[in-house]
Each structure stands twice: as C-alpha cells, then as structure tokens.
Symmetry: C2
Subunit: 496 residues, 2 copies
C-alpha cells in the first residue's frame, strides 16, 4: 500500500473512534438516563485506550513523519493535512504519559471542585486546582513548542495563527473605542420593553416557534435535527449528520430563540462543508473563531435585525397571541437588542459581550506571564468589571467563578468568542457588497445568504486557515474596525 | 495476569464494542437523520472489523479453549459463561470467512429484495434469495454442529435447549386444542365495541397516556426512557440504561398502549437483572422465549385484564374525554380482547396469535428438512391459514411475504414468540399461588409483581437457562397445558 493510502486508512480508523465518542457525547447530553453514566464511563475508558493507541503507535508516527519529511512533493490539501497531523502528533507524544494522566485526573476533579466552589461562593477552595491547571498548561505549551511563548502556543491551539500580539492590538482598539461608547449607550438604553419578555411562554409553544426558525434558516432536515439540552450546543460527525440543541426557559423566550439561531449558525456551517473532507483531517469548521463568527452572524446580525422581525413577528404572534398582541417589529427589534450592564457573560447582550471577553483575556494573559497569581484574581476581576461596565460583582460566584472553561483547562479559548463577533462583522461588510441583505432577510430568503457563505467559507471545511479565509473573502487581513463600525452604527441608530 | 482475569478483560473489551453498536442502532432507529446512514455504514464497517478481530484472534481462542479444558475447576457461573463463550467462538470460527462475507452480503441485499417483493406483491422476485438464505442456514448449522439436525441447531440458537421434538409436541397440543376453540370463539366474538377504537386519538395525548403507563408499571426513569420509532423495540446496554420505543397511530390508540406495555415488559426484565453480570456473558435476558414471556405477561395477562382497566380507565377518560365518555371498564376489557381471524401476524389478537406462529413453524420445519421447497411456499401458507383461521390471503404480500424475519436469515426465531406466551401462562399460574394478582392490578401496585419476577426470574440474567428457570420457578418442566388453560378460561368467560 502506498504511503498516502496507508495514512488515509489510519485516519479513517481514528475518525471511526472519534465518531463513537461524538455519539456517546451527544447521547449523554440529550437523553441518556442518570444512572447510565457510570457504566458509560467504563466503556469510554476501554475505547479511549484504543484510540490513544491508534493516535500514538509507532506505525502511525512513522507514516506521518515520513510524509512530513517530503511535504513539498504533496499536493496542497495533503500538505495542510500532514502539517495538522504532525502538529497533533507532536502535541500528544511530547507530553510524558504520567503527566498527561495526572493532568486528566486533575481536570476531572477540578470540574467538581469548581461546581462546589461556585455553588458555595468559595473561590479559595478552587484556587489551588486553578493554580495547578495553569502550571500544567504552561508546561504542556512548552512541550508542544519550547521556542514559543506558552500563551501564544495555547492561543494558536484554539485559533490557528493568532498570537498575543494580534489579540493585544484587537482588544486595545475595543477598549479605546467600545468602552466609552457602551457607557453612553447604557445611559440611554431603556427598560420599557420588558413586560412581555419576562412573560410566561409555554415551552411546547417555544419549541414550535424554534422548529419554525429551523425552516426559516433553510436547515436541511434530512441531514440533521434539533433537540433540547441543558446547555445548547451543536454536534456533528459529517455534513450529513449535524444536530444541535436549544433550551426552553418558561420566563425568557429569547433564550430559546437566540440559542436556536446561534446553533443554527454553527450547524449550517457544518452542513455546508464539502463531504470530500469526510475522511480527512480537513473535515469540520476551520477554527473556534470562524465557527463563532458564523453562529454570531446569524444570531446577532441576522436574528437581531429589524428585517428579521418584520419577516417573522407574524408567526411569533400566531403562536403567542396573548403575550405579543400589541408588539410591532420595531418593538421586537428594540427588545432583542436591549443593552444592559450585567455581571454574567452568557447573559450579556451583543454590545457589552466583548467587554466580558476582554476582561478574561487580560487576566489570562497576566496569569500566563506570571504578572499576577490566582490569589489576585477576584480583586482584579471585580476591578475590571467596574472599569469596563461600571458594575461590581457582589460575590465570586457571579464574578471569577462564573465560567466552566478554566476548570476544564481551557486557556486561550475565551478570546475566540470576541474574535468570532469581529470576524462576523468583517464578513458582513464583504457580503453587503454582493447581496441586498435587508431585502433578503425581510423576504425570508436566507438560502441566498447560506449560499454565499457556502461558496466563500463553509465548503472549505478546515482546508483553509482562518487567516486565509479572511483574506480571500474580505480582501484584507483581520481588521477590528468593521466590528466597531457595525456596533456603533446599529446601537447609535437604536439608542442615541 | 491469571487466566480468569485475562478472559474478563477480553470480554470487557468485546462488550465495549457491542455497547457502541447498540448505541449506533438505537440512534439510527430513533432519530438519526436520513442522510447520515451512508457515513454511519462506513464507520460501522471499520468498527465491526475491530470487533471481529477481538472475537476471533488467536489469543482469545487460546484463553477460551484453555478455560474450557478445565471447566470442572471453575465455579458454576464461570462454567456457564465459558460454555457460552466456547459455543459462540465455535460458531464464528467454524464458518469459512468467504462464506460468511458472502452470506452477509446476501442478507443485506435480500432485505431490499424482500421490501420490493412485498410492496409489489411479487413473491417470485424474492424466491431465489430465500432459497439461498435457507441453504446457507442449513450449511452454517452443520458447521456449528455437524452431528445435529440443522433445524435443531438453529432452534437452540434462539432458545437454548429447545428442539423440534419439544416444539412438535407443543404445537401438536395447540393444534388439537386451540384450533377448534378459536373457531368457536370467532363465531361469538362481537363487533359492537369498534366505534371508539377506531376514533381519532391525538398522538400527543397518546404519548401522555403512555407516559402515565410507564409510571403505572413502576419503571425506573433514572435507568431508562421511552421514545418513539416506526417499530417498537427495547434496547439496553446494562440494567442502568434500558430504553424502549412505542409508536402512535392516530386511528388506533391500542397500538401505542399495548406496544408500550409490551416493551415495558422487556424493559422491566432488563432493568431488574443484577449488575453483577455487567461485564460477563451472563448479562441480559436469558433467551428470546423468556424475554417474550415477560413482555406478553405484562401486555396480555396484566394489560388486557379487567382489573387493569378498572385501575386505569379513569386516566384514559381524563385524557380522552370525547372518545371514551360512555365506556365502562368492562367495555374496555372486551374491546382490548376482541378476537378476529386476521391475516397479519403483528395485528393478531392474543387468542389467534399462536396459530400464526404454528403455521410458520410448520413451514420452517419442512423447508429445513427438504420436505418442501420455496416454490411450494405461497400455496402451503394460504392453505394453512384457511385450515387454522378460516381465511385465505388474497395475495402474497398479506401472506408469505408479510414478515421480515426470513429475509434477515432468522430461521428458528418465530417459534419463540408462541413459546413466550406459553411460558408466560405457566409463570402466571405459579405467581397466583403467591400473589393476589387481581387485587394487585386493581390497586395499581405492579411493583409487587415486578418484585416477584425480579426474585424468581429477572435478577439472574442469563446465568440460568430457560429450562432451569421454568423448573425452579414453576416446579415443573415446560408444559403447554397452562397456556391452553389460561386462554380457555379467559375467552370462555369473555365470549362463550
């Protein structure tokens, strides 16, 4: 068998196991009964050993290394794939097995410790775990690449090619332009639209409206489905099987609506990737940031537009006649774009959201450089909240303990959220040159937008890097000005 | 590592793969989107190769054979397990790989051929496939055991220890006693209860009633759930994860009700097995017949009893006030036990059901012995239908082509359905000595019945054979007289 085929066969096998883990995860998050998890954990233990063996066995290493040694004889796609394989392989084999096992245990335990700490508002009980997680991450980053700044290595693992240098510039601009703008808007943003937002909405009816939205977005139901779970997420194993979840809160109908549209953004991306990449490492969306750009594009730029509610308020009123009798599209537009200084990231509105991320980025950066320690965290967190949003958490549960990410070892992940919103805006201004977006949205012809995104972004899966995509689609490199411009235009019109 | 541990570890690994195949199957049957199946088939191809390797590799054979060679040094449970392992192993390795592959392809193709044949009422287009399947089954049975009658070997693979000799005796008795009894009942069975049975019942409301039944049966929701699918079935990977499905037909509410109770019978069996058997070959119900005895016990003996409807008709009326205003428990009791000569097995009532099975058994028996060929099938089928039930199929789609089993290579499976009903009756008379069943059912205290079944049958999983269970629980060997007695008592009281 020639080397390429051998590699392909190995990847196919590895992906079969990943498929299984995906399915187990989907099932666990959506319906597996409570008491099934103990046995499931055992099964996963057996299978993850098999997978680890495949990903690290000598034969696989040899194939990857040999292909890597003659990279320039390979075609472009294969070059990119082998680089990815090599990068992943080095990550796994450079970490001593004992340390990896120790870290895995630490992460598992830390989840529980964090949950308790958050529940009991007891940061101190979590601090030591956090410190150990940070130390491991620094150490691992140096294993991956001894010549690189550890935080840069971590940032790159969530968003290919991104560094502190670029993120610093991005957040600097946000801080200078957005913080004062937000303060101005907060003064004028009004509360008068509240009464029907917090009304009771029957979850069954919410589901009906969300199923309607699935069709508005022209999601292909032969290749996916919507279900519910505690935390909304999108799942896929191939473009032919893309599923996502939403959740229904009785007293906050926007939660299900915008979770649905958000996840539909992720799901549409995955559905529109070429199946040619199915058995390659180029399957799936190319990065966290690009993925988030798609979900936020649909959620905020489309779903929170006036035109979207001109198109879909009638259906909303049909399903919820009691609650929405007197509402106009304009009312809805203002309601879904209500700006508020809030303490909790996942409840933040579009405008203030990136300030929550900026805060986390600054803290991660200083933690990784050693400029601050875990002891300093609560105070720094609260000070920055006050500086950026003018509010101060009353306790650590609604402050530094609110997010799961750090207890899961995810350092370098947060900034991709803000990056996604900024990418989305940059894509938006490029799309505007080709399409009459307001008209398309008003006519519920989102297939036209899907098509543009498929041609320009989705179809390529991971075969292009985020930076390549930005440059090819928007004809320039990443530029935060579009994001700031978009927010200022929208929220000036709404509130100033 | 000692031999026992080595065996245990291998079994655990094999079961991890089987767990995965189970989950893939569950997902495919309940929600996986249409277009996901092609990729899924590829993934399953990769994984089934891995599983096959584990089940046949030299190391595993050596361990099983060595343990088998010193069987008398092992404890009872281990003895039973090793015998099972040896039997399965011999089955796999005695079949030449090419023939196995050829057969697998034949079966896959035959499914489609059968579907088309049934749709187009074209038995001839399916005949050759059927002949090949029969030939393979005979050949394989001889590979498994060259010294045994092939049909006996197949019968044993679905119901441990059962032979043509025993089935012949069973069906002979049914023929002599039940056929004339059924003819008498059919003359008196009335149609007056039809009007509300075929009324429209909102599927959402049916679901509500079935969820109620889940609680009536005291099913443990922390260890399982109910979903819907085209064909109801029960699925489990361990007693902590037992799921089942039902289906909702708008114009036939009994379909969802009795499918739910039937599957709850299977599911309760699985939930009540000791978890000690989790990583052994003694997990799960012990045989098709015993499993079917549990589902039919709950469906027919409990669910179609007067007391059951005395207990639960109020809830039914609460959910379906329009359709059931005037109905008494007695009306319901008669309606759910309506006897009819019908052509389709899966629509048959409790009384006539086993005659459908008897017909299939006789045909299988003669096909396997060579007494008849596939050419004779339609005529024999129709003649027997006329003899036993007094009706004749107008075409082969409602005759010999109606069931999927043969196209799937399942010869020897059908008789376990009738056996299950007969087992159920034999258990029932044993239970009556310990419990006041009518009172328990009338008071909706089915946990008392669950408990009896757990202690006597369920907890043991596959650690006891069907014959051992019957003898221990009922103090005698399998005896069809209980089944006949039960049917005669019930239907005499109802209709004669």
């Amino acid at each position: 068998m020639d080397l390429n085929n051998k590699f392909r066969k190995m990847i196919k096998k590895i992906q079969a196991y990943e498929y299984v883990f995906n399915l187990l995860g989907w099932d666990s998050s959506t319906e597996a009964p409570r008491e099934s998890h103990a046995r499931r954990a055992e099964i996963m233990g057996v299978l993850s050993k098999e997978l680890f063996k495949l990903q690290t066995e000598k034969e696989y290493q040899d194939v990857v290394n040999e292909l890597y040694s003659k990279l320039d004889t390979l075609d472009n796609l294969m070059q990119r794939e082998i680089k990815k394989a090599k990068k992943e392989l080095d990550k796994i084999i450079n970490v001593p097995e004992e340390e990896y096992v120790e870290y895995t245990k630490l992460i598992q335990m830390s989840q529980l410790v964090w949950e308790d700490a958050k529940k009991n508002n007891d940061y101190d009980s979590f601090k030591d775990n956090l410190k150990q997680i940070i130390d491991f991450n620094k150490k691992f980053a140096l294993y991956y690449n001894p010549n690189n700044d550890p935080y840069d290595t971590l940032l790159d693992s969530f968003e290919e090619g991104m560094t502190t240098k670029e993120y610093d510039a991005f957040f600097k601009q946000l801080k200078e332009e957005l913080v004062p703008f937000v303060k101005k808007v907060l003064k004028y943003s009004m509360n008068e639209y509240d009464y029907y937002i917090i009304d009771y909405y029957d979850p069954k009816k919410q589901e009906e409206f969300c199923e309607y939205l699935v069709d508005v977005m022209k999601f292909n139901r032969d290749r996916g489905l919507m279900k519910k779970s505690v935390h909304p997420f999108t799942w896929n194993t191939s473009p032919q099987d893309v599923r996502f979840t939403t959740r229904y809160l009785e007293r906050y109908v926007f939660s299900s609506i915008f979770a649905t549209i958000h996840e539909l953004g992720h799901a549409t991306y995955e559905q529109q990737i070429s199946t040619d990449f199915d058995d390659t490492l180029l399957h799936g969306g190319t990065s966290m940031g690009i993925h988030e750009s798609q979900s936020r594009f649909y959620e905020n730029i489309i779903g929170r537009s006036l035109e979207f509610w001109e198109a879909n308020l009638d259906k909303f009123k049909e399903i919820f006649p009691e609650q929405s009798k007197w509402i106009t599209p304009k009312d809805m537009y203002r309601a879904v774009n209500k700006v508020e200084a809030s303490l909790i990231r996942i409840e933040a509105d579009e405008l203030t959201y990136s300030l929550h991320i900026m805060l986390r980025y600054e803290i991660e950066r200083k933690l990784m450089s050693g400029e601050i320690t875990v002891d300093d965290l609560p105070t720094i967190w609260n000070d920055l909240m006050e500086e950026y949003l003018g509010i101060r958490p009353k306790n650590n549960s609604e402050g530094v303990l609110q997010d799961v990410h750090w207890s899961g070892g995810m350092f370098g992940y947060f900034p991709t959220y803000a990056l996604g919103s900024a990418y989305a805006a940059q894509f938006y201004y490029a799309m505007k040159k080709d399409l009459d977006i307001p008209k398309i949205v008003r006519n519920n012809e989102l297939d036209k937008i899907n098509k543009w995104l498929k041609e320009k972004i989705h179809q390529f899966g991971s075969s292009k890097s985020p930076k390549e995509l930005l440059l090819e689609v928007t004809k320039e490199e990443f530029n935060p000005k579009y994001y700031i411009q978009y927010l200022k235009e929208k929220y000036t019109e709404l509130y100033l």
